[in-house]
Symmetry: C2
Subunit: 136 residues, 2 copies
DNA sequence: TTATTGTACGCAACCAAGTTGCATTTGTCA
DNA sequence: TGACAAATGCAACTTGGTTGCGTACAATAA
């Protein structure tokens, strides 16, 4: 939470109610969130910002590398705070998310193959889908 | 191409002009396609089906395991024919796609971790993004 | 404390992808 | 060839996301 607030300051982003609330939401969230999910979370903070504001805010947070986009196996954009290297196990039924850590040997393999084609890697999507223990 | 036509038959799907054209398009395509891309491809076959028809067709082809959905790092659904196990290197600029093969040790690691949480894996998204040799 | 200024925000209108209900056409098989 | 279910079209709608423009407000300096 403070971590995010400091990042705002470091990037000379003004401290607004929306940004305070977003810092709280993203730090508590145990999974990446879609914009509609965030809009409804914000109601708990008695904030109902216009969706335009939220979309524009996320542009800013992405540009300042505070948030990153995460794509699961659907056509929804999700957002989470940038910190450690991890992937996700996503339950298709209840949307529960389990974070997983793996060694990076696979990524190294991909890098080697990319190099062969003179392809410059920038980012990746490595997510896994199925049913969690409860839903199965 | 014939491969797809046989799959239609095997699943008692009627042979229509749309399905013939789709078989041709997907077999020639060297990358997964979005619905709008497919709609414009179909014009080359002098077919302009209603988008509803195409969306419904894809539901059927997914259910019959002829197509699968592929998600790159954006919010667009893409489709490709189901066959071999491979991943993609996607150029963010020109949308060029390079298929890559990797050993499956990473997937095995994930499976082990999933098992620990009693999570049943169904599918995954492992795609890589950057700039191809021309665009860089 | 107030004045200033650019950032942040709201609103309305819009766009594109995807969905739904219902009517019509067409492939297939008897 | 006729009958019927599968396939298609159309119109209207929903949802996620965008654009232009005018207003509010957080931060800074006086």
């Amino acid at each position: 939470m403070e971590y995010v607030l400091r990042k705002y300051q470091a990037n000379s982003l003004r401290l607004t109610k929306l940004r305070e609330a977003l810092a709280g939401i993203f730090c508590q969230a145990e999974k990446p969130l879609t914009v509609p999910e965030i809009l409804s979370e914000l109601k708990k903070y008695t904030l109902e910002p216009n969706k335009t504001t939220v979309y524009r805010e996320f542009e800013i947070l992405l540009k300042n590398k505070i948030l990153k986009e995460v794509y699961f196996n659907d056509d929804k954009k999700r957002y989470e705070i940038i910190h450690e290297h991890h992937h996700h196990l996503v339950c298709k039924k209840c949307a529960k998310v389990i974070k997983i850590d793996c060694d990076q040997s696979f990524e190294l393999q991909v890098e080697r193959q990319a190099k062969k084609s003179n392809f410059v890697l920038e980012n990746s999507s490595m997510e896994f889908f199925g049913k969690c223990s409860k839903c199965n």
